[in-house]
């Protein structure tokens, strides 16, 4: 292992902790990194922003040795280095907290913190629990965490687990004499807002003795906690923003490369709803985590349900698709009473559901676009029990064109498509039958970049205009306000209030938050 030679700084400015110059990485058919530059100064929190596919994750992986770049240089404190593995990156003082929490759930916190670098805690393959506990405690003390090092990791809260991860990544201090560079990849995605505050306090502490690279798709967070933001687009660095005084819109603009549409939610396309009778009418619906829910949705109307985690809104949505059992209440579609004991009944009633976990519940990854699209409405592609290939091909191609789904062919495996195009296929599944009356959209834009979101919004407007009733669980309050005609605020399993949300008379997020907590 070669220790990077310290380069004498030419000026009085300190050498950057980490510098990337002209990094290139090709994947078959894609240029993930196209000469990206990045500078991480000592003792700063650098934000990394960019749409999905901008090259963020490839860059991060290159920084911790999980991806070998095709060209370009990485400098650690002025010296050029080659990072071929996580261990080599750690030896240079670079460590990463991964997006999916990467702890072994059935080990103790202490074991996770020391995993792979147990040092004196394991002698000749034999554990010394007392030493292990002490070493782990030292790490936890560094970040001021009160977690019991011998607690099993799966008994800890998400926030505590994140602390364990940070304590773990700080072990790289043992491998390098220099201040470490800590990379946090989407660390807030699993946290509640209070836990996020704790994390931010932690990041500011880390800055005292380390450099931090912070990645989040929530731009307000990036601006809140970072000193400086580098924006990536198309595998290149397209700009740098000092966060003091910056606003999210500025970053948005750099990320998508144009001024961006001010009408993000296509409000122009929203049409006033005139309904004599609601399409969906729910009275007194109760279940395990919700009670006495009244809900009306007219044809062509988009009703958003908002609420904090635990408000029960997800379960209401799932109950309307026959997944979650209900104990009381009445559901009517176009005035006709229906019961939803299972998803089959919901489908038969003309209800469609787009689940939040697209990759797990929404699609069958290795199956083709065509198969995924025709999964539910079998009749549309069949004659009797047999699939008619011609019928299926024509149908699928028609919808690929109508929703402008970007896929090489209809037979491409859906997992090879981008998130936005996957989501369009999932939506198309409900549309091909032509009998859709009510769409339940559970976080339909989760994990999508701004461009793809915008297309999903446009699609929602079109469906509404064609008379489909929509229940939306939005990803953010802004999205709910932007898209909905009416908003139901849920709190602790009940409907707290209902807010009209017509185009031109939108409530402010603050009005809603008041009722949510």
């Amino acid at each position: 292992m070669s220790v990077p030679a310290e380069r004498e700084p030419a000026t009085s400015a300190p050498v950057p902790a980490l510098e990337v110059r002209g990094l290139v990485k090709h994947y078959p058919g894609v240029k993930a990194l196209d000469g990206v530059d990045l500078v991480v100064r000592q003792h700063e929190v650098l934000g990394l922003a960019g749409e999905n596919g901008a090259g963020k994750s490839t860059l991060l992986k290159a920084l911790v040795g999980l991806v070998t770049p095709d060209a370009g240089e990485i400098y650690v404190r002025g010296g050029a280095v080659k990072l071929r593995s996580v261990v080599e990156a750690a030896n240079h003082g670079i460590g990463m907290v991964f997006q999916e929490q990467s702890l072994v759930p059935n080990l103790t916190a202490a074991e996770n913190i020391l995993l792979g670098s147990e040092g004196a805690a394991v002698r000749r393959g034999v554990y010394r629990w007392d030493v292990m506990r002490r070493l782990a405690q030292e790490q936890l003390d560094k970040i001021g965490s009160k977690i019991d090092p011998l607690a099993r990791t799966d008994t800890l809260s998400f926030a505590d687990r994140q602390m364990v991860e940070i304590a773990k990544v700080l072990r790289i201090e043992q491998r390098s004499q220099h201040p470490p560079v800590i990379i946090l990849d989407e660390p807030t995605s699993v946290l509640e807002s209070k836990e996020i505050d704790t994390l931010f306090a932690q990041i500011r502490r880390l800055r005292e003795f380390a450099s931090v690279v912070f990645v989040s798709h929530r731009l307000d967070e990036v601006l809140d906690v970072c000193d400086r933001v580098t924006v990536l687009r198309g595998g290149q660095s397209v700009g740098e923003v000092a966060t003091a005084g910056a606003v999210p819109r500025e970053l948005h603009r750099m990320m998508i490369g144009s001024t961006g549409s001010d009408d993000h939610y296509h409000e122009n396309a929203a049409e006033p709803v005139e309904a004599e009778q609601p399409r969906l009418s729910v009275r007194g619906l109760s279940g395990k985590s919700f009670r006495d829910i009244d809900l009306d949705v007219a044809a062509g109307e988009i009703v958003a349900i908002v609420g904090v985690h635990g408000s029960g809104r997800e379960d209401v949505c799932r109950a309307l698709f026959g997944i979650e059992p209900t104990s009381a209440g009445e559901i009517r579609m176009d005035g006709k009473k229906i019961s939803l004991p299972n998803t089959r009944a919901a489908c038969a009633a003309g209800i469609g559901y787009v689940p939040a976990e697209r990759k797990i519940e929404g699609m069958v990854g290795p199956m083709s676009v065509a198969e995924n699209m025709t999964l539910t409405k079998q009749k549309a592609r069949c004659a009797g029990p047999f699939v008619v290939p011609k019928k299926q091909a024509g149908l699928v191609d028609r919808w690929i064109e109508r929703l402008s789904i970007r896929t090489p062919t209809r037979d491409t495996a859906i997992q090879r498509l981008s998130g936005g195009n996957q989501q369009k296929v999932v939506l198309a599944r409900w549309l091909i039958g032509g009998d859709i009356r009510l769409l339940l959209l559970d976080h339909p834009t989760r994990g999508l970049d701004i461009g793809a979101r915008s297309e999903v919004y446009r699609l929602m407007r079109e469906l509404a205009a064609s008379g489909v009733a929509t229940v939306l669980l939005a990803d953010s309050l802004e999205e709910a306000i932007g898209m909905a005609d009416r908003i139901l605020v849920m709190n602790d399993g009940r409907v707290a209030t209902e807010v009209g949300c017509p185009s031109g008379g939108k409530p402010s997020p603050l009005d809603l938050v008041k009722e949510m907590v």
Partner: protein, 332 residues
């Protein structure tokens, strides 16, 4: 920091591990034991309890080995073949009627080393050739049976080694030497599981293998090592069966592969890995033995035994996943 805090600390982990869901099998063991004891006076006699424990010895050793593999989330079907090869090896190396060998303990050690070699082979096939463990170990089992058949060569080797024969006969504190050997294996297995990197990593691999890789741990050597350790246990089990039978038989390990998985699963070791352990498996072994013995004692025909064992393992797996069952859950 003193040693006592270390001990107290590890004890605390044990206590946490023995959470509610882990209490099921021990409670079931006690309840089933009491039911049979109430139904049958023969069952509750001291001699029968000794019988049950002695009969459990070989299965306990096999289960010790397979538990590490199961903890890792892999499966091992090689025990039957490995035990057969080990049984023939030991019976031809200690004093016997086929040749003039009389290596005593060295012969026993050789049989155990042979078991290691078979385990090593399974592990290599898994990590280098990427053969799924159930297929790799099934193949190794067949190889083991083939090797045993070659060594058997049509003439059964009867052993005359006094020490090896005495293991099955002589008793200490009312239990046979084989039972004490099994107890030592359980203790050794527990120590490996709790105090060695090998044991903890086996547990961690079953929990989240990719996390180990991301932490810079090279997982493959540990996988091979786990299969090797398991092979050592099977090798010893083959020796123990030879001691019981007084002869080396190709079929020495017949049925132990399935029984050991049954015992481990009944004891609370998950087939998906990451949960359970040696003590769980030991309880599982006793549960299986109490059930089979008890059913015979209350007059159920022994011909039922195989079917009952199959029922138990399916029921146990079903019970283990009940807490995780949700509506619309998909099972493959």
């Amino acid at each position: 920091m003193t040693v006592t805090t270390g001990v107290a600390a590890s004890r605390r982990i044990i206590r946490r591990g023995a959470a509610f869901r882990d209490a099921g099998p021990p409670v079931a063991l006690v309840v089933i034991f009491l039911i049979f004891a109430a139904l049958s006076p023969q069952f509750r006699s001291i001699a029968n309890v000794q019988n049950i424990v002695d009969a459990a010895a070989v299965l306990a050793v096999v289960t010790c080995g397979i538990t590490f593999v199961l903890m890792m989330g892999s499966i091992d079907l090689s025990s039957a073949g490995v035990m057969g090869a080990s049984a023939l090896t030991v019976s031809l190396l200690v004093a016997n009627n086929r040749n003039d060998n009389d290596f005593g303990l060295a012969g026993i050690a050789a049989a155990i080393v042979l078991g290691c070699a078979f385990g090593f082979l399974s592990g290599l096939a898994l990590v280098l050739l990427k053969v799924p463990s159930f297929m790799a170990t099934l193949g190794v089992s067949a190889i083991g049976l083939g090797v045993a058949t070659l060594m058997f060569a049509g003439v059964q080797p009867n052993i005359s080694d006094a020490m090896l024969k005495s293991w099955a006969i002589d008793r200490f504190l009312g239990l046979s030497y084989l039972t004490w050997i099994a107890a030592a294996c359980i203790l050794a297995g527990w120590l490996i599981q709790r105090y060695t990197r090998l044991g903890r990593y086996a547990f961690a691999i079953g929990g989240a293998e990719e996390v180990l890789t991301l932490s810079g741990v090279r997982v493959k050597p540990y996988k091979v090592a786990v299969f090797t350790v398991a092979g050592a246990f099977y090798g010893l089990a083959g020796v123990m069966v030879t001691s019981q039978l007084g002869a080396g038989l190709v079929q020495a390990g017949n049925g132990y592969d399935f029984s050991a998985i049954t015992a481990a699963v009944v004891g609370g070791t998950l087939l998906t890995g990451g949960r359970g352990g040696i003590l769980h498996s030991t309880v599982g072994v006793l549960l299986v033995m109490v059930l089979t013995n008890g059913l015979v004692q209350i007059g159920v025909s022994p011909y039922w035994q195989g079917g009952v064992e199959g029922l138990i393992v399916v029921a146990a797996v079903a019970a283990a996943v009940i807490p995780q069952r949700r509506r619309n859950q998909v099972v493959k």
